[in-house]
Assembly symmetry: C2
Homo-oligomer: 415 residues x 2
């Protein structure tokens, strides 16, 4: 209920409320703690007076809220400032030194882990090869092993883990159960529950979500278009999926299966797709359509570099392939723009190195196909977050929970 009152971005797995929720004073205090924390996050260094002036909360309330946040070591004071109007004020900044948020991304042959501090600063970025791609148990064991190492590192640094979110390339329902992850060969797996067991109830919340959804949260918080309230992230990995943020929140649909653009049919006479259908976006604009052969993820990386080299050299066949892939990708992007009218659509994964050749074609298709003038104001850009965007998004998801008022309790006891 609190979450729906707050409208925090993506902090809940789902919000089905269609109207206002009661606000009792506990809610109001939690709301206001989150408001002050967010204000310090965005405006530090700032004074209590700044917070009161900008939020409309009265000064006594702000002082009490700040005291609570300092007690939780989410905010700290940095001496006085002189160079401002009026008498010197004690300035506040995010503290968060005793905290870490962990995100993990499961790929077919590797696991990426990212840890960030409360301010989103990267504490750690690890990538491990991953053999457990075809058994859930091996997969959970592999993920558990890397998470345990990350947690140990954070503990050494005297950081309390606020939470873990795991990105899976597949259909994940709103409860966090993996329904099907084709490239991993997983189905109907409670990865979160299994991980909690493997980690022997680690004492922090574990969330599981689709990789495109978490990458979209990473873009919203850390990307070049951070703060955009209507944003779509398009994965360019072995599969193509979309993470959809509308009105500032991730939108999962009724059961959590939104964003499945990979198997939208672009052409009834198009090439056969591995799903058995014809002319799917994934078959016409996925990485497979660029490389024209089935490769292991390790080989794909090498092949993509070769494609980039050939494209730079002006190889006609390579440029023709990228032109046709860009055209199909543009048709898919136009569907997103016509249906959702986002401010920006961000291309991730292997689309990033290929962007110099794909983007101009995609933008041309967008201009031709979107019914609203100037593509309804929709830009298409390449992600700046790199290949572990979904892992970073896991950390973003954890920070979203904090920013929505789910503050760590009694942390003043932590060293």
């Amino acid at each position: 209920m609190l979450g729906s009152l707050l409208g925090g971005n993506g902090a809940e797995l789902i919000t089905s409320t269609t109207g206002p929720q009661p606000a009792d004073f506990a809610d109001v205090r939690a709301t206001n703690l989150a408001v002050v924390l967010r204000f310090v996050r965005e405006h530090a260094p700032c004074s209590r007076a700044d917070i009161a002036a900008s939020t409309g909360l009265n000064k006594a309330t702000v002082s009490s809220l700040v005291a609570d946040l300092i007690d939780r070591r989410l905010v700290r004071e940095t001496g006085l400032t002189e160079n401002r109007v009026g008498r010197p004020a004690t300035m506040l900044v995010l503290d968060g030194s005793p905290y870490a948020a962990i995100g993990v991304e499961i790929n077919v042959d590797s696991v990426s882990a990212v840890a960030t501090g409360l301010a989103g600063e990267r504490l750690l970025t690890w990538r491990r090869s991953f053999s457990g791609g075809d058994s859930v148990n091996q997969g959970v064991a592999g993920v558990g092993a890397i998470v345990r190492r990350v947690v140990n590192r954070m503990t050494k640094e005297e950081r309390h883990v606020l939470g873990l979110a795991v990105a899976v390339p597949g259909l994940v329902d709103v409860q966090g159960n993996v329904r099907i992850a084709p490239n991993l060969g997983w189905h109907d797996a409670d990865i979160g529950g299994d991980l909690a067991k493997a980690l022997r109830d680690p004492g922090f919340p574990i969330q599981v979500d689709n990789d495109a959804n978490l990458a979209a949260l990473a873009e919203q918080r850390f990307g070049a278009h951070s703060g955009a309230s209507d944003l779509v992230y398009l994965t360019g990995e072995m599969g193509v999926g979309a993470g959809i943020i509308l009105d500032g929140r991730l939108r999962r649909g009724g059961l959590g299966y939104s964003g499945e653009i990979g198997h939208v049919q672009l052409d009834p006479d198009g090439p056969e797709c591995h799903c058995g259908r014809r002319g799917c976006l994934e078959a016409m604009a996925g990485i497979g359509a660029v490389l024209r052969k089935d490769l292991s993820p390790a080989e794909i990386q090498v092949e993509i570099e070769e494609v980039v080299r050939l494209a730079r050299a002006g190889d006609p066949a390579t440029l023709a392939t990228l032109g046709s892939v860009g055209g199909s990708l543009g048709r898919g992007v136009s569907i997103l723009a016509n249906l959702l009218n986002p401010e920006v659509i961000i291309l991730g994964g292997y689309y990033v190195p290929l962007a110099p050749w794909l983007l101009p074609v995609v933008q041309g298709e967008l201009a031709d196909r979107v019914i609203a003038a100037e593509a309804g104001g929709c830009q298409v850009v390449a992600s700046t977050l790199g290949h572990d965007a979904a892992a970073l998004g896991g950390a973003a998801r954890v920070l979203d929970s904090i920013d929505s008022g789910r503050l760590p309790g009694g942390i003043s006891r932590i060293p």
Copy 2:
């Protein structure tokens, strides 16, 4: 800010907040007034104790809130009830007798107007032929004339008009400006501002929105799937557009142009569309594709009845046409289901009389094309609201504003 705090369904033109907003006590009271009003709407007759028990608000607060709602004549007391545990309690029901919400729908050759009471009961349903289809000024004059008559009728009934929302078949931006309404020949028109002038500042808010958006709000509040938090309405008029409700709120996209599925390309080799593109959904699954000729709206009604008669009689050519239109419609519906994973997709307009022949084909396509098992739980159904769904949705939009805490002030002065 209040609106974003409340999360009321569709009451605001846009919410771009990505996090919690400060909650001061004025907000809290407005929030709680709305909570109590909604509780009475959903559970009347109910007692103050019922409200306190279910909302978590304390009894003194509830009594004060109820007194305020009674003063505004939004809620009234009905005698005591005996048949309950504990001592008899004074029961509360919605009052609203002095109020009306007005919705108007602009079509190519007609204007529909609907007025409802606070509880959503229909007070009036009018349809007038409409000559002003090709000039904004004539259009506004025509709409102004019917609205004036509706307002006069409401005044005679001693009802205060809470607001007016106007549905336009075209692109309407988040400020309510009509960017382009192709079938009306309108572009860049501030219908709301012009109407306010034509009505000489009527003293109630006027909102303008896309017809599919308002029809979706009508379904959410009054339809067979009312209360669904993830719902898409598909218009089946001369154009095809979608109204998208996710997590209980209408989603307009960055500028307000979401839901433009009519010109999503289903087949690069498909028939030419009046927009100049090829194989658009509108060209393959719009009413034009059923009738195979350009007709006036009046003629369409007659022709559709003839199509229904022929289909009932088992005419092979008619059944073949409906089969192919159903197949294309099913492909469009599958795109919505794959991208948005709604609980239900509702077919409106002329799709309703044709539903017995279209729905089985659409459902088959959905089962084949949606990547999630069992179409991700998405149902496809025909609307039960009839041809003035968008006008009814205008009234729903006005009631949404009230339910979100934008209560009429000082109404106790009204007779």
